[in-house]
């Protein structure tokens, strides 16, 4: 095993506990990555799923010494940071945490955006009371050597605020995230009789959207495992979810297949999607792609572990 990925939260937007989501899970985004025989820990996103991950870390890692890990946030929308105050290592003296993530223009620093949840009006503990050594580091598009042979590349994605996709390469294996993400589209493309129609902008916009989508595809090209936003069906997307910053199942499957992805995980389930409905949709997509791709496609499921 080179990289082992465990899903602690797979839901989009808001936690959805209850009988209709019990099989796939109701916690929001949190992934645990373990690298190599030393099981080096990296966490992606601090949605509500990180609370249970914290318990697991205390059980497993604490005996090896103080907790020392990195959390990479895809972005700072609430469903991706809401679990942070419940990540118990932040209260532990000696624990060392590096929190990385993008910040949107003119927003406060990552420390205020993420750590700012810890103030009395929202939470009984104040940021200043945290015992761990926590560093907040703003990320842009880059390639970074994380040590121990782990190479990370980030890529801006398309969402109402700045979002980064992550690509980790380790021992010849590639793991990528592409959420929250909506395909780039030509927002200048309006009907000719619309007062805001400008031909040159329409032409250029089409080209720009196409090229930006190709760049995202290049970003996850050849991935052994890709976790992609699939909050909507194409029909739902077209019926009123354009510009909300999420992809359809159809788009994710098509672009992952084109990029030669080996295994695609459908992720960021809509809060209104029941387990039964998810499986029904999934069955439909599997039937459609049967025999047309070698790519393995699966639904993200809370508690499940995948190794590459």
């Amino acid at each position: 095993m080179a990289i082992r990925v465990t899903f602690w939260g797979v839901r989009g937007s808001i936690p959805t506990p209850g009988p209709t989501t019990v099989r796939y899970g109701g916690n929001t985004a949190c992934l645990e990555l373990r690298f190599g025989a030393q099981e080096k820990l990296i966490i992606i996103d601090a949605g509500s799923g990180i609370r249970e991950l914290a318990g697991e870390i205390l059980k497993k890692d604490l005996k090896k010494g103080p907790i020392d890990t990195k959390i990479f946030l895809t972005h700072t929308h609430w469903d991706h940071i809401m679990g942070f105050p419940f990540f118990t290592p932040i209260y532990m003296k000696g624990a060392k945490l590096e929190v990385y993530g993008p910040v949107s223009f003119e927003d406060e620093g990552l420390d205020s955006v993420v750590g700012g949840q810890l103030q009395y009006r929202y939470f009984p503990v104040n940021m200043g009371q945290l015992e761990a050594d926590i560093q907040y580091i703003r990320l842009m598009e880059l390639t970074k050597d994380l040590g121990d042979g782990i190479r990370m590349t980030t890529k801006y994605l398309n969402h109402p605020i700045t979002v980064l996709g992550y690509r980790f390469e380790y021992q010849g294996k590639i793991f990528c995230t592409a959420y929250d993400h909506e395909p780039y589209r030509n927002i200048f493309d309006v009907p000719k009789d619309d007062p805001s129609y400008v031909e040159a902008a329409v032409t250029e916009g089409a080209q720009a959207a196409k090229e930006e989508n190709e760049k995202v595809q290049e970003f996850f090209r050849g991935a052994d495992l890709l976790v992609h936003d699939t909050q909507y069906t194409q029909k739902e997307y077209e019926a009123g979810k354009r510009g909300w910053g999420h992809s359809s199942f159809e788009w994710a499957i098509k672009s992952a297949h084109k990029a030669g992805v080996k295994r695609l995980i459908l992720f960021h389930h809509d809060p209104d999607r029941s387990d039964d409905k998810l499986e029904e949709l999934y069955g439909g997509y599997l039937a459609k792609i049967k025999g047309k791709t070698k790519m393995v496609v699966a639904l993200a499921k809370e508690g499940e572990t995948i190794e590459v």
Partner: protein, 291 residues
């Protein structure tokens, strides 16, 4: 420090806090507050103000985003970064100002300068379209034209007395403005423009257009096509007196430029009505804010 060095230092200081033109100010405010504003509205309002355009481009290409490739098109920037981000960029940088608040010493006025800048931007783009340049590059022709005289803003505002003298000298001796600028201030708007383009980090092509648009013969670089196109558009704006940027006696366009661009003087007649139409449209668009 000698006189010229002092002048340059004062200009550099001014550039670091240069305001945008009041012409687009209220419109950008309106668009930023209006959740129904379209991407095209945003594109248009930024495109109509040379200072705002330059500053937004600077932010997009700054270390803040750390993008791997230089973005020279606002349309692409809006698609990549989203309407909200670009709105915020524009709003944060659209500091209300103007060519001058000392109206007694005003050599150039806002409306004339704005019309001239927009005319050169639109005409450069029309010439590029006629010559079937790559559609992806059209915006670069527009932006280069829009910004070609940007160096006049610090001169007009920071050295307003000398600038009035420079303009008077063009009338008296029938000289192009860049020559009388050098005589009165030891520096011309091309040099100042280059300082701005460098400060805004807008790339080599834009820098070449701004610096060489009156010195075509001595241009050694690779951006000849956009440079000559903007020079032709600039000549057209002055000759047809669309807007006013201080050049009542510009040098005529060398015949070799017409040959190289494969256009004739007649083509300018064709361009004139289109350019005027675009300026009127822009004017109406901007005035909506006041209603």
């Amino acid at each position: 420090m000698n006189d010229k060095a002092q002048t340059i230092a004062a200009i550099k200081n001014y550039i670091s806090r240069m305001p945008s033109l009041p012409i687009a100010w209220s419109k950008i405010q309106e668009i930023s507050k209006n959740p129904r504003a379209t991407p095209a509205d945003l594109n248009q309002v930024i495109s109509l103000d040379p200072v705002l355009m330059g500053r937004v481009m600077k932010l997009i290409n700054s270390a803040y985003y750390g993008l791997n490739t230089q973005i020279t098109s606002l349309v692409r920037a809006i698609i990549m970064l989203g309407v909200n981000t670009v709105k915020n960029l524009a709003l944060s940088t659209a500091v209300l100002g103007g060519l001058s608040n000392k109206s007694n010493f005003q050599a150039l006025n806002n409306d004339g300068f704005w019309r001239h800048s927009l005319c050169v931007g639109v005409a450069a783009k029309l010439i590029a379209i006629k010559r079937r340049r790559d559609p992806k590059q059209l915006e670069e022709y527009f932006v280069s034209g829009l910004l070609h005289d940007i160096g006049k803003i610090p001169l007009n505002n920071k050295l307003s007395t000398e600038y009035v003298q420079a303009l008077a000298l063009t009338d008296k001796e029938h000289l192009p403005l860049y020559i009388t600028e050098e005589r009165t201030m030891e520096v011309n708007h091309c040099e100042v423009g280059r300082l701005i383009v460098n400060n805004w980090n807008l790339g080599v092509a834009m820098e070449d257009v701004v610096f060489f648009h009156h010195f075509l013969d001595s241009y050694p670089g690779e951006n000849r096509d956009v440079l000559l196109t903007v020079a032709a558009a600039n000549y057209f704006a002055n000759a047809y007196q669309i807007g006013f940027s201080g050049d009542r006696y510009p040098e005529s366009l060398p015949p070799s430029v017409y040959e190289e661009l494969k256009i004739t003087r007649d083509y300018f007649d064709e361009v004139e009505s289109k350019v005027n139409g675009e300026i009127e449209k822009a004017k109406i668009f901007l005035q909506v804010a006041h209603q």
